[in-house]
């Protein structure tokens, strides 16, 4: 299955769905596309949907942290949505922290939080 990571505009936020088999090349391309879209569209928030991810290892964790860091520098808040409970447990055991990101349980929850800003 070829991983095509999509970026969609939802209200004033960009919804980024990260695919399970994303490659290093696709990540670099995603960073590029995302940063351009944020600056072109006056985006307030970025929502990273990771519900497709069966696992989040330190590499993917770093990607999430980088995407969030880039968004923050471009004045957009980041929410991670769709984290599976097993992924949350494993991330804690791995000792991974995602300081630049906030998490929301669903897309609706993330959009509600972003509207309050």
């Amino acid at each position: 299955m070829a991983g095509v990571t999509s970026i969609n505009l939802v209200e004033h936020a960009l919804l980024v769905s990260i695919q399970d088999d994303i490659t290093d090349t696709e990540i670099l391309e995603l960073q590029d596309r995302l940063s351009n879209k944020i600056s072109e569209n006056r985006i307030d928030g970025v929502i990273l949907d990771i519900s497709a991810l069966e696992i989040v290892d330190t590499f993917v964790g770093r990607v999430i942290a980088q995407l969030a860091g880039i968004s923050r520098l471009l004045a957009a808040d980041t929410y991670v949505v769709g984290m599976r409970p097993t992924v949350a447990v494993t991330l804690v055991e791995l000792g991974m922290y995602l300081p630049e990101t906030r998490t929301a349980l669903s897309l609706t929850h993330a959009l509600t939080q972003l509207r309050r800003l």
Partner: protein
């Protein structure tokens, strides 16, 4: 010729386990392939969702470690059908790890990563072993 970071586990050490499959590790896509293979096998054999995620994450860490830091390698999955046990062996072509204890320390990185990969993998696996330079392999 550089000595390997990890060499293939001695078959004797694996007891009743049989080789299920073997993969070459070259690109980051190969790390995805091996962890998906491990996850698929575990799911088919009734492992809990949490244990699948834990072990597949550990597998992903050691496979990526071999690809990113050691120029690739080979990856084998062994099963012991009676004991319902899965072991993986990752062999790489790197120059070896000088200080294994240091490499397993959280926060230590030799390559710009977060420095949680190997230590994290060790915490996620029931059994974890690194043998380096003088011979051996990390087995989870």
């Amino acid at each position: 010729m550089p000595s390997p970071s990890y060499v293939a586990f001695d078959e004797k050490d694996l007891g009743a386990q049989v080789l299920l499959s073997q993969f070459k590790l070259k690109t980051s896509g190969d790390a995805v392939t091996v962890r998906q293979a491990v996850a698929r096998y575990m799911k088919e054999h009734g492992a809990s969702a949490l244990n699948v995620t834990r072990f597949a994450t550990a597998v992903s860490e050691i496979a990526r470690n071999a690809i990113v830091h050691a120029g690739g390698g080979e990856f084998s999955i062994y099963v012991d059908p009676r004991a319902k046990r899965l072991s993986v062996v990752c062999w790489d072509k790197g120059p070896g790890i000088e200080d294994v204890a240091l490499a397993l320390t959280d926060g230590y990185t030799s390559g710009g990563g977060l420095g949680r990969g190997l230590g994290g993998a060790q915490r996620l696996a029931q059994k974890f072993e690194i043998r380096t330079a003088v011979g051996g392999a990390p087995a989870c």
